[in-house]
């Protein structure tokens, strides 16, 4: 018997989900007990999901990170943050909807949340430019981060972008300058910063809100210097080689942990975050609380010194 491919597994899982739903609906109608059958299907469902997750290639993970139903920054804000007060605008040019900023609480902890937002419906996606921020988005984030620094609030950034917007307007308004300035300022910002990749960590566009003291990544998120498609187009001269490029780039959470680039992998619920967003949000929330607890006890000067050393010492080379 041949092994099932990922797509076949996914289809079987969906089919079982539909059958469970049908059985449940039927039971509601005629009051017959179908619990044994449903239980059997649920067990099978779980086994298949485990099997699916164990078979994923790096490119499958990239596709999960881009899954249309995957929870986005706005979803996490809704599920995790109490009393959220959104703050708009970079006070220079405009309000970029691809980056959400706002004040909020998790339990007793007050914080500033910054995250890239892709949008769910077509209309939303266009408004958010598919999560590709413009310079004004990075400048908005920086302006709010300075606010957090002034009022001693820790910052949590949620990273989810295919990359910074590559278009004419973005270049006219200094995309490279905006990202560089954010990196520069975040390296020395006198308040704790936690960075979490929740979906796509696309290159410089991710790094523009991605400097901090703790760096975690969700199990099926990725973080890469270039998109697999872009890499394949340049090095293989064909973007259809994206699966090979994904392998070569070592962009999965496991690779990043092995390299020591991320501090921790945050596990996702069975079948990935989009299968149970609520459970994912709860896990994420508990990790953020844990990190805040860890960071808070460190004096700010030491925190910044550690932050500097972390980036200063990264990268391997030979001196011969």
């Amino acid at each position: 018997m041949t092994e099932k491919t990922v797509t076949e597994l996914e289809n079987s899982i969906l089919e079982i989900e539909h059958r469970i739903e049908d059985l449940e609906n039927a039971s509601l109608k005629d009051n017959c007990d179908r619990s044994v059958e449903i239980k059997y299907l649920r067990e099978k469902h779980e086994r298949l999901q485990e099997k699916l997750c164990s078979k994923l290639t790096p490119y499958d993970i990239v596709k999960i990170a881009r899954h249309p139903l995957r929870p986005l920054t706005a979803d996490y804000v809704n599920m995790m943050i109490d009393d959220f007060v959104e703050l708009h605008g970079d006070k220079r040019f405009g309000d970029d909807k691809a980056i959400i900023c706002g004040l909020g609480r998790i339990g007793q902890e007050r914080l500033l949340v910054i995250g890239q937002q892709k949008g769910k419906s077509t209309k939303e996606r266009i408004a958010c430019n598919f999560g590709m921020p413009n310079p004004e988005g990075y400048r908005k984030a920086l302006q709010k981060m300075k606010l957090a620094e002034k009022f001693h609030l820790p910052i949590v950034t949620l990273i989810d972008t295919p990359g910074a917007n590559p278009d004419i307007g973005a270049e006219e308004r200094g995309q490279a300058y905006a990202i560089a300035e954010n990196i520069y300022e975040m390296c020395r910002l006198k308040t704790p910063i936690i960075n979490i990749v929740i979906g796509e960590g696309g290159s410089g566009g991710a790094l523009g809100i991605g400097i901090g003291d703790k760096f975690a990544i969700l199990e099926y998120a990725y973080y890469s210097v270039i998109s697999p498609e872009g890499c394949a187009a340049i090095l293989w001269k064909n973007s259809e080689n994206a699966p090979e490029a994904s392998e070569s780039l070592r962009l999965t959470a496991k690779d990043l942990l092995k390299f020591g680039v991320v501090d921790e992998i945050i596990s996702e619920p069975l079948g990935a975050a989009h299968k149970s967003p609520k459970a994912m949000a709860n896990t994420l929330k508990s990790y953020i609380l844990k990190y805040l607890e860890e960071i808070k006890s460190t004096p700010i000067d030491i925190l910044i010194e550690n932050r500097y050393n972390k980036y200063r010492n990264i990268g391997k080379y030979l001196e011969c």
Partner: protein, 281 residues
């Protein structure tokens, strides 16, 4: 002796075609004019070692950390392996890596200088380039010297070193931040082309931003932008002149005037004694 770049920059023979005006120009004249077209002032790309000779006082350059070579943290393979690519580029350029850094003098004034060469894997930044730039900033801080970095990179961050190259953007920016905070003068010179991760980190974080005429400068490369927006790009888009107009440069300086301009800027801005700064490694 001035070494001529062979590849597309300078074809063999006595005459060469100018990429600017497309006219044929006498190579020796171009060379005498610091690789600038006598007809249209087009600035040819210059090999990094030649550029250092053109800019610095004679025999004043002392290269530092010249024994650094890249390793292959990802075991990266596309159509060829990364070590194969590095070896081929080393062979082609005679360089060990895309960056050269060291100490030099301009009109007798000591300074730290770094340069990235766009002919070595597109001048892309991997761990060696990142480390050299960071060390140059730290050394400039320690010796209280001005820092000049000449960027030429069509590649930005080096794909073959994956996330490690992305992190060099953070490393260089952090080192530059410390240097500037300690009162150091940093001048960035953008040459054709300066794009991607290099532009989105150390190259755009200077006290004074200078570019050479007509240099291509930006975040995304023109081809990527064109593929994204699916229409042609406006004339002069992403040139030095475009950036000056949009307020992102202090000045555009002709190659022949570069040395004198740098000398003047250093005279104005460099304090003889900086506030003592701590170097933390």
């Amino acid at each position: 002796m001035v070494f001529f770049r062979k590849k597309k920059d300078m074809p063999d023979g006595l005459w060469t075609r100018c990429d600017g005006c497309k006219g044929m120009v006498y190579k020796k004249i171009v060379e005498e004019r610091m690789y600038v077209c006598p007809e249209c002032n087009y600035h040819f790309r210059v090999f990094s070692r030649d550029r250092l000779k053109l800019l610095l006082d004679e025999n004043s350059f002392e290269e530092m950390w010249d024994n650094m070579v890249p390793c292959d943290p990802l075991n990266f393979k596309d159509r060829i392996t990364y070590p194969e690519r590095v070896a081929a580029e080393q062979q082609k350029t005679g360089l060990k890596e895309a960056a050269i850094v060291g100490k030099g003098k301009i009109n007798g004034k000591e300074l730290m200088i770094g340069i990235t060469d766009s002919s070595f894997i597109m001048g892309s930044m991997g761990a060696v380039v990142g480390e050299k730039i960071a060390r140059a900033a730290e050394k400039a801080c320690e010796l209280q010297l001005p820092l000049i970095i000449i960027s030429g990179s069509g590649g930005g961050a080096r794909m073959q070193e994956g996330v490690f190259s992305l992190m060099q953007m953070a490393k260089t920016s952090a080192a530059i931040a410390r240097f500037r905070e300690a009162g150091g003068l940093y001048i960035s010179i953008l040459t054709d082309p300066s794009l991607g991760g290099v532009m989105a980190s150390f190259a755009s974080l200077a006290d004074i931003m200078i570019a050479e005429p007509k240099a291509l400068i930006g975040f995304a490369g023109p081809r990527v932008i064109q593929e994204t927006i699916r229409r042609s790009l406006p004339k002069g888009f992403q040139t030095a002149e475009f950036l000056l107009e949009h307020g992102f440069l202090d000045m555009i300086v002709h190659r022949q005037d570069m040395k004198e301009e740098l000398s003047r800027l250093i005279d104005y801005l460099q304090q003889t004694k900086n506030v003592p700064c701590e170097v933390q490694v």
